[in-house]
Each structure stands twice: as structure tokens, then as C-alpha cells.
Amino acid sequence: MSDVFDISDEAPAPHAGQVPVLQVRGLSVDFGVDKEWVPAAVDLDYEVAAGEVLAIVGESGSGKSASSMALLGLLPANSRVRGSVKLNGRELLGLSPAKLRQLRGNDVAVIFQEPMTAMNPVYTIGFQIVETIRLHNAVSPDEAKVRALRMLELVEMPDPEKAFRSYPHQLSGGQRQRAMIAQSLSCDPKLVIADEPTTALDVTVQAEILDLLRNLRTKLDSAIVLITHDMGVVADLADRIAVMRRGHIVETGTAVEIFNNPRHEYTQALLAAVPHLGMAQDSTGAAAEDVDINAALAAATGASLEDVDDAELRRRERENAEALAQAEAEAEKAAGTPILQLSGVAIDYPKQGRVPAFRAVEGASLAIYPGQVLGLVGESGSGKTTIGRAAVGLLPVAAGSLKVAGQEIAGAKRRQLQSLRRQVGMVFQDPSSSLNPRLPIGESIGEPMYLAGTAKGAALQHRIETLLDQVELPRSYRNRYPHELSGGQKQRVGIARALALKPQLMVADEPTSALDVSVQAKVLELFRNLQRELGFACLFVTHDLAVIDVLADRICVMQRGRIVEQGTRDEILRNPQEPYTQRLLAAVPLPDPDKQRERRELRAQLLAIESS
């Protein structure tokens, strides 16, 4: 690749002539499956200099993780690695296990995706960091403790002394990730491999960890390889980007080049598939005017930006306000009886053994009118999925009133729930778990109709065919089993099953969070078209604001079991009132390095205003 040494103006430049920290040449990784070598990565070339962040981007199965784990010899026994990997000029491939062990943790460190599983639950955070330090350095336990505490301070842990004594389960997700970063950086590694470091975190926590990684990069001068599928994270952090597909690097370049001028068609398609927050399409399918979230946030907080001069920012704020007024004028008045109506609903998780009952949702009120899509947004543990499950009768309502199509289901009996279930359909989060692995998908789709007695025999088969057509799957798939289908196809089957009884209310529980972005884009498009065509009301539960923005007419923001703000899409995106909503919006990383810099600045000011 000729552009390996391309230098963007914002990146710390690798000095000319200096040996890059990591130099990968012709790296190929194969996995043995059924007596055959199946390539996972083919002939990769890249290098990373000190203080530089190289992002390897790709969808699942592109070989990005496999190739990076190969650098450290961390692949399973049925793998084969060829090529050359040089760390500071020293060849890593073919080193003895003992030599590799010396390198791991000391010269090369890894930040894993899920800190809960990557840290040992039976040891304290402090013990684990001290262990790493003492494995590679001849220091006394006391010295190691001092160093460990310094590392915990470095990663901005709120109370380092307390965290040092804590077990992993006693910390929050973000703090755990900080602890793991502290552990991996404790030996001053020359190379850090960050494997999807923020994927398991909520969006506001993700923003904090990204801030931390950015600060650390300038402090430590390590080379960082960032593996991710999230273009927003890449835009926030990366200096250079390598796009991988099916084991090949299809394009490399600086972040600015890739985002502003992608050359390879796959990169273009990948960028186009990322749902941008504030880029919904109108009903004709043409791109509607972007919602300038940055301007909205600036107006809401009265902040000013360094890079953008005030007049420009005020103009953008004004445009934003005008668009909001226009949208409100256009917004049709909701008509008819609401399909789903919650007033003052509380939902408990009953006590189990010695664990006391837990109130997951309190005082929730909302209404969805026919044909409307309501987006329910919130972070994990905010109670959004709980509301979705209660709406289809899977969880009992503890207090308040929950009506589906005018029928009260709080405290309903079995018989009443049976009739409710003809009115509702649900699409689940995990496509691999939501279909019975032992049933052909035709039978899965047909089951609701069969049980409701709406169709039998040939009529049932005909209806199954129609549903498969609607979700754009070949009819011959009816006799396949779920494991023969890809994730996106399985989710289509899930949608077909939810549509089987022609429900008035559809509850979609994060239906795209387990899918790759390109597949997610297609499934969302299908979902939107079906919603327009069939006109069902929809409760769309998600943590991803960008996804909801594509679909929703109204948005509800939840925090800790309460609905903190609700309104039309434009009201929430253009004129967020609650500090929590503002913080949530500001935390979503934008897949555009320039806009993301603006957003970052706004977020810092927002947090400053709140804390003062």
C-alpha cells in the first residue's frame, strides 16, 4: 500500500525514517474446518507508528479480530499464521511460547470487548493489576501497588483506592473497562490492541471511554490498533483506517480521506449504510434535510464552539428552529383511539428466593396511535425492554393501566391475554435465540396462525408464502432450519412471524442490535416499508438513537425506569429539553471526523454546565 505513510494534519506524524512500532507484511491467517484451510485473513500489510491510532474496520467475519489476535499468537489450535509481524524490528511469528509470554502484557497489551468476562471475578482489580506488573517487572508488592494506583488514577477512576480493593462485579461497566485499560497499560506497552473496546458499553459511557483513550494516546505514545465495526468510534479516534472485507484489506488511508473521499465501493457502501443520527428519510424515500443535532445542542445549552464562529453557529441554530416550527405545523394531529396506552404504569420483577422484588418501571405514561412508530430510547437497565414485554403480556403490570386496542390488560386473566395476543406481534433482539433451532422456519412463521386457528392446511401454507414474500425471502426457505440462515435472514423470519396475525401493535425489541451495519440498514428499510404498507402501530425499543431516528414518529427517552422526556422526533432531536436527553444526543459519535470534533466540544461544555 503506497499510502501507508500518509499523514493527516491532525495526527501526530511518524518521523520520517523511524521504524514503525508494528510492521505487518503478508500476514495470512487460516482456520482448519473439515480438513480444509479456510482463509480468515489474506496477505495483510500495515504498519503503525508510535502515538498513532490505526483503526481496522470491517463487519463480522471480515477477519479483523482473527488477524489481530494472530499478532500475539492467541489463536486456537486449528489455525495457521503465515507472513511477517515485526514489533520494533523484531519478528514475532514463530517465537517460542516462553518468549511470546514475555511480550504479552509487557510490550503488547490487549483491551478486550467485555470487561466482565475478561477480568477474573474471584480476584480484586488491584490484585490483577499488581499481578501484571510483577510478572514483567522485578518490583516489590508495595511498589507494584503504588504503580497500580497510579494507573487507576491515570484512567480517571473516580476513587482509585476503593477500586483497587473492589472485585470486578462491584464496579459499573464503564469503571470495569477503565480498570481493564489500566491493567493493560500498566507495563507501558509499545503496542495496544483494542478489540471493540466500547461495543459492550452504553453510549454515554462509550463517549467517556473514547475521551479517555484519546487522552491516553497523547500521554503514552503507544501505537494503538483499534478493531471496531462502529464508524462513529473510528471517526472519533482513528488517525488512519484500514477497511477489511472477507479477509482482505480493501482500502487504507487517513481518517479524513476515508470519510470524505472513500475510493473502494465497499467503503462507500459501508459508510452509506451507517444510520446517521438526524438523517432520516421522508416518505418519498429521498433524503430529507439533515437534523443538525450539534446546532440543536448548542442552542439548548447556549454554548459556543471554538472552531465554528458564532455567527455561523447562530445561523445554524436559527435554521434548526425554523425547521422545527415547520415540522410541528406539518405534524398531523393524532387521531382515533390509541393502540397502546400506558398511564402511570409500574412493573416489578418479582422476588426470587432472597432477592427482593425490583421495580423496573415506575409511573410510565405514553400513547401510540394507529400507524405511529414510537421509539423508546434509553441505556441498559432503563426499563425500556420491560415496557415492551409488558405491552405484549409477557410481564404483569403492578400498578396503573395498560390498554392495548382499548382493552385493559393490567391484571388480565389468561383468557383475556389470549385474545390480546391476536392483536400484538413481537420482534426479538437476538435472531439466533428467537427461532426454535429444531423447527423449520415455515413452521415457526405459521405457528401463531395455527394456534389462533385463523388458517389451516393449504390456506396456512399460502399465508406463510405471502409472509415470506413480504419479508423478501425465497419461498423455498420455508423448509430450512434457522442455523442454515444468516443473521439478517433470521431477523426477517422473526419479522414475518410477528406479522403473521396482522397485528395492530408491533413491539420491536432492539431488532437490529445484533446485526452488521449493512444488514441492519436493509432490515430497517424492510421494516419501515412494511410499516408504511401495513400501517401497524409500533413500539420500537432501542439503545441506538440513530436507528430510532430513521423510523420513529415520536420518541420517548427513558432513564432509570422513568420516562424523562417524550415528543415528536423533531422536538426531541431539534429541541431537547432534559439534560439527560442532551447528554444522550451529545454522546452519539458521528461518522464524520469534523462534525465529531464539534460534537465532542459541545459534550464537554454540556458536562461542564451540568457539574457547575
Binding site: G32, K35, E36, W37, V38, P39, N78, R80, R246, G247, H248, V250, E265, Y266, Q268, A269, L270, A272, R389, G393, L394, R421, R422, M426, F428, Q429, D430, S433, S434, L435, P437, R438, P440, G442, E443, S444, G446, E447, P448, L451, A452, L460, Q461, E465, D469, E472, L473, P474, R475, S476, Y477, R478, Y481, S486, G488, G494, R497, V519, A521, K522
Partner: protein
Amino acid sequence: MTTAAKTDKALAKLQKEPKPPKPGKSGTAAGEKAGLSQGQIVRKRFLGNTGAVISLVLLALILLLAYSAGGFFGIPGWWKYTHNQVNDLVNGGAPTLQLFPFSLGEHPFGQDRLGRDTFAQTMRGVQISVAVMFIIGLVGGFVGVVIGAAAGYFRGFVESVLMRLTDVVIIIPLIILAAVLGQLAGSRVPAGVQPYVLGLLVGVAVWTGLARLVRAEFLSLREREFVDAARIAGASSTRIIFKHILPNAVGVIIVSVTLSMSSAILLETSLSYIGMGVKAPDVSLGLLISQNQEAFSTRPWLFWWPGMFIVAICLCVNFIGDGLRDAFDPRQKKFNSKRAKDAPVQSPVPTPSGPGQLTDA
């Protein structure tokens, strides 16, 4: 399960008259590698396990020999003596089996003190022991599955009651429980069916391990989203248990039942050995050993032949159970890096589809 059967039939009918897939709807239909159903995968992996396949063949041969030689259901077998027939002693009762040159002789496995043919007795013993083994396995399996499934699915009060019941059965030593039940059975039923009643009663005592396993499996499966989906579709608890959850737990059940069968044959042997199991004039492998233990130094063949068959049957069943466990567990992978070949390399731009097209594959 008639409802499910009907749907199955309707689907099977449709499978016979396949309609061509709608062209141009999805790019994934063309050139796709056909997937295997789980049953096919399990069969393939089981057949790849040499030990298990050899054991399966060996067990089949032993059963064939025992049932054809001794005869069953009143049909006479090809062997000239029956197990109760008293004959003259030939060669002092020693086995007449010769390998070089091969000849069976008059009494290939020898005779006991009274002149009864050991081969006929052993074959009869294998028949009875194996029958008892299958009855114990099936009865124990059925009871265990029902109790485990109910406890795991309904939880709460039902689970507490059933699991405490299981605990009570577990704390009583199995051999005592089986001995008492076997004794009761022996005194009340005619001699011919006595071994089978014994199997039935012991089966009712050995379900505890399976019940716990099935309960654990149900506890994890009932939280899966497809169970919620079935509930939203309006499925009853019975339908969810038998149609949705049980087929997914079948791996655990098959393996556990197979392994419990091999311990059942040992249990039957020990019961008969202490005189609580099968009683004369009927024979079982355990009873043969027990009757002939004094003859160990003088007529060792009376002891060795039944013993060898017990060991062979147990080993076979255990190997088959292990093979099944490996076949059902997708984490078990054998891979030989020296014999592997390179697969054709995929190009990063796979199809001549238009620019910017992404497949949903």
C-alpha cells in the same frame, strides 16, 4: 402431539412438491452451500467416531447371537440345548471350543456340575440382562424427563415439591431401594415375567440424575427468546414443553439415558448376585456369576463367560454413550493440520452486482 403431527404432515406434503424460488428476490439463493440439519450433523459426527461405531456393531452382534441362539417369544433358536436342559458331562464339563482348527464341539463354553450347557445359559442371561437394561433405561428416562421438565418449566411450588421428592429418592441407597422393590415384585408375579417387573421397578428408582439434568436444561432453555415468541403466539404450556423445549434438550437426554443403561446392567448384576434380582430357574448374567462363584477355582469357565459378556456389553454401551455425547456437543472438534488442504480463496468483491451493493448473506 396430534396437532404437531398434522403440521409436520402438511409440511412434508409441501416438501414433495417444491415450488421454484422467486427469482431476483434475494441474491443469496444462488450458489449457496446446502446446510445440514442437526440430525444429519450428529449422525455424521457419530459415524466419524471409530470407537463408538465399533461398539455399536459389536453390541448388535452380541444381541443377534443371544437372541438367535437361545430363541425368544417361544420361537426356538438354532442352538441344540436350552438353558435348563440337563445333559451328560462331556470332557468333564470343560469348554470344547477350539480355535485351531476351529470347532465348536459339543459344549463350546463348557457345562456346570449338573451338566447344563453354559453357552445356552449365557445366551439366556444376555437376553434377560439386556431386556432388563433397556426397561430400566426407558422407564427411568421417561420418569426423569417428565419430572425434570415439569420442575424446570413451571418453577416455583411445583419445582420445590418435585426436587425435594428427588432429594428423598437420592438419599436412599439405590441398591437397597432396588432390592426391596425387586423382592416385592418377585413374590407377587409369575416367574416368567419377573425379570421384566424387576426392570420396571428399578427404573422407577433410577430417574433422579436425569431429572436434575433435564431440569437444568429446561431452566436455561425457557429463558430463550423463542419460548417467549411461542408464548406470544398463544401456545399452551404443554405445547411449549413438548414442541419447543424438549426437542432442544434431546441431546442431553439421549446421552444420559445411554450412560444410565450401562449402570443399569451392573445394578441388575449386583442385585442378582446378592440374590435379590432375577431368581432361578430363570438366569441372568449376574445370577450365573453368583451361582458359580464357588466354582471359580475348579470350573473357572462358569465364571468367565458370563463375566466377559457383562464387560463387553457395558463397554459397548459406554462407548456409544460417549460417542453420542461428542456428536451432540458442537465444541468437540477434531482437526488435523497436516492433512488439511487449502480452500479456494474468496475475493473481496464477490459478485458482479452493482457498485455499493451489499449482500444480506
